[in-house]
C-alpha cells in the first residue's frame, strides 16, 4: 500500500511542478508531462518498470478523449466532413505508409517489417494534437479542423491495422516464440470472437456497433434521467464512467478499438441534453489519465538505447517527421488549405502517435517486429512526440507572425479621399460605427491592417483602406490633420493606447473616440488623452442586466431606471477609481490592494444606492416619480388657510 502511495505521489508531484512551469514558458502541458516523465524516469530513476503497466492503464485517457471528441461532434457535422475524413485522412495514411515503408525497405528491412513500420508511423498523436489545439485556442481554424479529420481517420484506421498486422508475422520470430510456449499472446485471451469464422465475426462486429448506436440513443437517456433525478452527483459521475468503461469493454471483447467505440457513443450522445453534464464529469478523468499517459511516455524513454544509437535515432526521428511533414504539406496544397492553416496542418501532424506504441507492442506480440527494433522505433515515436510542442512553438513564434506580416506587409493603399472621420480598425465594432456615420452622410475613411477584411468591406462598398493605422504616415495620408474625429477600434490594446497618445499629442484638435477592452484599458486610454471612451461590452452587459431584471418581474420602466442609476453611479465611481489607478500607476503598481479595497467599497455603495431608501424615504434609484407621502395634501390645505 505504502508503495502505491509513494508512486502516486511521485507522479503527481512531478506533474504538479513541471506542467505549470511548462505552460508558463509557453511549451504547453503535453511537453510538461513528457518532461515530468523524463525527470522521474530515466533521469532520477524514481520510477521503474511499472511505467509500462501504468501506460496501458493510462491509454484509457485516449479512449475518454475520443468520447469527449465525439460528444462535441454531432452526427450531422460528422457527415458533413466525410470528404475530408476519407479523402484527406485516407490519402495521408496510405501515402505516408507507402513512403515510410519504402524507406525502411531501402534501409534493408524485409517487406513485411517495412510495411508494419509504415503503418505505425502513419499515425499521429490525437492526444497531443487535440490537447494543444484546445490549449492554444485554434480548434476552430481551418488547419485544425482538417488535422482533426485526419486524426479521426487514423483512429478509425487503427482497427483494420490491428486486424492486418498479425498477417505480417515473421516465420523465424514465430518459431522462436513457439519455443517460448507462446505465452506472450494475451491479447486474445479475453475475446468473444476468438475462433469465430469470418462471417460470424463480421456479424458480431456489426451487431455490436448497431447495439452501441441504438442503445446509446434510446437507453442512455432514460438511464441518465433516472440517475440525474436522484440528485446524487457522484452517482452521475459513476454512470458517466460506467458508460465509457462499459463501451470500451464491449469493444475490446469483440476485438474493436475501444477508442472508436467510445467515439461513436459520444457522437450518438452529442444531441442529448446531458452532453455538457457528461463532458464535465469525464473531463477531469481524461485530463489526468492523458497526463499520466504522457508521463509514462517520458519515463519509458530508454536512455541506454538512445545514447548507444543517438545519431541514428535522432536521424530517424527527424527523417520520419520531415517525411510526414512533406506528405502533409503536399496534401494541404491538394486540398487547398492555404496560408498559416497549411503550416498548422503540416506541423501539427508530423509526429508519430500514442497508437504507435499500441501498434508496436501489438506487433511484437504477434511476432511481426523483433524486440530490439521495436524498442528503437518506440524511442523514435516518443522523441517525435517530444518534439511536437517545439513544432507548435515554431508555428506560433515564426510561421504565424510571418503570415500575419505577409498578408499585412505590402504597400498601404493609396487613399483617394479625405474624410471628416477616420475609423481605425474595422472589426465588428468599427463596422457598426462606420455604418451609422455613413448612414447619415458623413465622410469616413476606414483603415484596417487585415487585407482580407479590407477586401470583404470593399465588396460591400465600404470605403476601406488597407494599412496600419498606428503608423503616422498612413494617418497623415488618411487626412488626420484635417479630420475632426478619430475612432479607435483596433484590437491590439497597446497599439490603441499608443495611437491615442500619438494623435492627441500631434493633433490636439482631433477628437479621439476610443473603444476600451476593459476597465484597465479604459484607464490607459483616458491617461493617453482619449476624449470619449466606451468599454466594448459595457452597454450590452447593461442591456442584459436590464433584461434580467425584467424577466425577474421588474416593471420594464423601473428596470430602465435602475439601469440608469447604476450607470450614473458607476460613471461617478469610475472617476474615483481612475484617480486611484493613476496614483497607483505612478507608484508603479497597477490594481494593487488600495485599488481593490476602493473597488469593493464602491461596489458596496452601488448596492446601498440601488436598494436602500433615503432618509426621506425616497430611494435614490427610484427617486423620480416617487409619490409624496400619504396625507401630504393636509399640509397644503393648512397653508392655504
Amino acid at each position: 500500500m505504502t508503495e502505491y502511495f509513494l508512486q502516486a505521489f511521485i507522479y503527481l508531484v512531478a506533474a504538479v511542478i513541471t506542467v505549470p512551469i511548462a505552460k508558463r514558458l509557453g511549451l504547453g502541458s503535453v511537453l510538461g508531462y513528457l518532461i515530468a516523465g523524463v525527470v522521474i524516469g530515466p533521469v532520477t530513476g524514481l520510477v521503474g518498470a511499472e511505467t509500462n503497466t501504468i501506460q496501458h492503464f493510462a491509454e484509457f485517457g485516449v479512449v475518454m478523449m475520443l468520447f469527449l471528441v465525439g460528444l462535441e461532434l454531432e452526427p450531422k457535422v460528422l457527415w458533413e466532413m466525410r470528404n475530408r475524413l476519407i479523402g484527406l485522412g485516407g490519402l495521408q495514411v496510405s501515402i505516408t505508409t507507402v513512403a515510410i515503408g519504402a524507406i525502411a525497405l531501402a534501409l534493408g528491412q524485409v517487406w513485411s517489417v517495412s510495411l508494419a513500420i509504415g503503418l505505425i508511423f502513419a499515425l499521429s498523436s490525437t492526444a497531443i494534437v487535440l490537447q494543444t489545439f484546445s490549449e492554444k485556442g485554434v480548434s476552430k481554424t481551418e488547419g485544425a479542423q482538417n488535422a482533426f479529420s485526419v486524426l479521426l481517420f487514423q483512429d478509425i484506421a487503427v482497427i483494420p491495422m490491428l486486424a492486418f498486422i498479425p498477417l505480417l508475422a515473421l516465420p523465424e520470430l514465430v518459431e522462436a516464440a513457439q519455443a517460448l510456449a507462446q505465452s506472450a499472446d494475451h491479447h486474445e485471451s479475453m475475446s468473444l470472437v476468438a475462433g469465430l469464422p469470418g462471417w460470424a465475426y463480421a456479424l458480431v462486429i456489426i451487431g455490436a456497433i448497431i447495439g452501441l448506436v441504438v442503445g446509446g440513443h434510446f437507453l442512455t437517456r432514460p438511464l441518465l434521467t433516472f440517475v440525474a433525478s436522484s440528485g446524487l452527483r457522484e452517482i452521475f459521475t459513476a454512470t458517466a464512467l460506467m458508460l465509457v468503461v462499459g463501451i470500451a469493454a464491449l469493444m475490446s471483447l469483440v476485438g474493436l478499438s475501444p477508442a472508436l467505440g467510445t467515439f461513436l457513443a459520444g457522437v450518438v450522445l452529442a444531441n442529448s441534453e446531458f452532453r455538457h453534464e457528461l463532458e464535465s464529469n469525464i473531463e477531469p478523468f481524461k485530463g489526468l489519465l492523458l497526463g499520466l499517459f504522457f508521463i509514462t511516455v517520458g519515463a519509458g524513454i530508454n536512455f541506454g538505447i538512445l545514447s548507444d544509437n543517438l545519431w541514428a535515432i535522432l536521424g530517424l526521428t527527424l527523417g520520419v517527421m520531415a517525411l510526414k511533414g512533406v506528405v502533409l504539406y503536399f496534401l494541404a496544397r491538394l486540398f487547398k488549405i492555404s496560408g498559416s492553416d497549411r503550416w498548422l496542418f503540416t506541423l501539427s501532424l508530423a509526429q508519430a502517435g500514442e497508437f504507435g506504441f499500441v501498434l508496436l507492442s501489438f506487433s511484437v506480440q504477434n511476432h511481426v517486429l523483433p524486440t530490439e527494433l521495436a524498442q528503437t522505433l518506440s524511442l523514435v515515436v516518443a522523441l517525435s512526440m517530444l518534439l511536437t510542442p517545439a513544432l507548435f512553438i515554431l508555428y506560433d513564434k515564426v510561421i504565424l507572425p510571418r503570415f500575419e506580416d505577409r498578408s499585412n506587409e505590402g504597400q498601404p493603399d493609396e487613399i483617394e479621399e479625405m474624410g471628416t472621420v477616420i475609423i481605425a480598425g474595422m472589426g465588428r465594432f468599427g463596422q457598426i460605427v462606420n455604418r451609422m456615420l455613413v448612414g447619415i452622410g458623413v465622410n469616413t475613411v476606414v483603415l484596417d491592417y487585415q487585407a482580407g477584411q479590407v477586401d470583404n468591406l470593399r465588396k460591400i462598398n465600404t470605403r476601406a483602406y488597407f494599412g496600419d493605422a498606428t503608423k503616422p504616415d498612413l494617418l497623415h495620408t488618411a487626412g488626420i490633420a484635417e479630420c475632426e474625429l478619430l475612432v479607435v477600434a483596433i484590437d491590439n490594446q497597446d497599439a490603441a493606447v499608443e495611437l491615442v497618445e500619438y494623435v492627441k499629442h500631434t493633433y490636439p484638435n482631433v477628437a479621439v473616440l476610443a473603444r476600451a477592452f476593459d476597465r484597465g484599458h479604459g484607464y490607459r486610454l483616458r491617461q493617453a488623452g482619449a476624449d470619449v471612451i466606451q468599454s466594448e461590452t459595457y452597454c450590452s452587459a447593461l442591456e442584459i442586466g436590464t433584461a434580467a431584471m425584467r424577466k425577474l418581474g421588474c416593471h420594464p420602466f423601473v428596470a430602465e431606471q435602475q439601469k440608469n442609476s447604476f450607470k450614473r453611479i458607476d460613471a461617478e465611481q469610475s472617476d474615483i477609481l481612475y484617480k486611484a489607478w493613476l496614483a497607483d500607476t505612478e507608484e508603479g503598481e497597477r490594481f494593487d490592494t488600495h485599488y481593490r479595497d476602493l473597488f469593493m467599497q464602491l461596489e458596496e455603495q452601488i448596492k446601498t444606492a440601488m436598494n436602500t431608501d433615503r432618509v426621506d424615504r425616497h430611494s435614490l434609484s427610484d427617486r423620480g416619480w416617487t409619490p409624496p407621502p400619504k396625507g401630504y395634501t393636509d399640509a397644503l390645505k393648512d397653508k392655504e388657510d
Binding site: R568, D616, R623, G624, W625, T626, P628, P629, A635, L636
Partner: protein, 208 residues
C-alpha cells in the same frame, strides 16, 4: 432694481427645423445673467439629473420655460422635468420652499393665430386658460406667475415679417428680467408679456 439671474429651460425636440425658438435660444445664450439650458441637448435620453436641475433652480431668481406649444402643453421633456425635479419637500410640501419668491414665465410659440385661442375660435380656450396647469404649478411651488411671452401663428411669422419685432422684444424682455427692471406690479392686466412690451415701446415705458 437688484440684478436677477435668469434660468432659461429650452425644450425643442427638433431644433434643426426650428425657425424661431432656436434663434431665440441662441440669442438668450449671449445675454449676461441668463443661464440657457437646452434640455433635449443635455438629456437626449430623458434621464434628467435631478440634483443638477434642483441646484440650478436654487441658483437663479427667474425661471423661464421656452418651448413650442405641443398639444396645448409643453414638449414632453419639460413635463418630465417637472415630474422629476419638482420633488416633494423641495418644491412643495412642509419643507419644500426652495422655489419661494422666484418668478416664473413661459416663452412659447403657437401654431395657430391669436384669434383661434378664444371661446369662439377653433381652439375654444384662451391661451392663459390652457396654461393653467403651469400657472398652478407656479402657485403651489410659491413662484410668482408672469404672463407668457407668445408668438402666435409661428409657422407663418417669418413670411409675414413678424420675426424682427419678436426678436427685439425677446432681447428686451431678457434684459429687463436680468436687470430687475420688469416689476410684476407693472404688468397690470396684460394677458401676454408681448402686450406689455409693445405698450412699453409705444407709450415710453408706461403701463396701461
Amino acid at each position: 432694481m437688484a440684478e436677477k439671474s435668469v434660468l432659461l429651460l429650452y425644450a425643442h425636440p427638433s431644433p434643426h427645423r426650428s425657425e424661431i425658438n432656436q434663434p431665440m435660444f441662441e440669442a438668450a445664450c449671449r445675454v449676461n445673467g441668463v443661464t440657457a439650458i437646452d434640455l433635449y441637448g443635455e438629456y437626449p435620453r430623458l434621464n434628467i439629473d435631478i440634483d443638477r436641475e434642483q441646484q440650478r433652480l436654487v441658483d437663479h431668481d427667474v425661471v423661464i420655460f421656452q418651448f413650442p406649444l405641443y398639444w396645448y402643453s409643453t414638449p414632453s421633456i419639460l413635463k418630465e422635468w417637472q415630474d422629476l425635479v419638482l420633488e416633494y419637500n423641495f418644491a412643495y410640501g412642509s419643507e419644500g420652499t426652495a422655489l419661494h419668491g422666484k418668478r416664473f414665465l413661459c416663452a412659447l410659440t403657437a401654431g395657430a393665430g391669436e384669434e383661434a385661442y378664444h371661446t369662439d375660435g377653433y381652439n375654444h380656450f384662451p391661451l392663459n386658460e390652457l396654461l393653467r396647469p403651469l400657472e398652478q404649478t407656479a402657485n403651489l411651488t410659491g413662484m410668482e406667475w408672469l404672463p407668457p411671452f407668445v408668438l402666435f401663428g409661428a409657422r407663418t411669422a417669418a413670411d409675414d415679417g413678424r420675426l424682427d419685432v419678436h426678436r427685439s422684444q425677446w432681447q428686451s424682455l431678457l434684459e429687463q428680467l436680468t436687470s430687475g427692471s420688469l416689476e410684476p406690479g407693472n404688468l397690470g392686466e396684460f394677458c401676454t408679456l408681448n402686450q406689455y412690451l409693445e405698450g412699453a415701446q409705444s407709450t415710453g415705458g408706461e403701463a396701461l
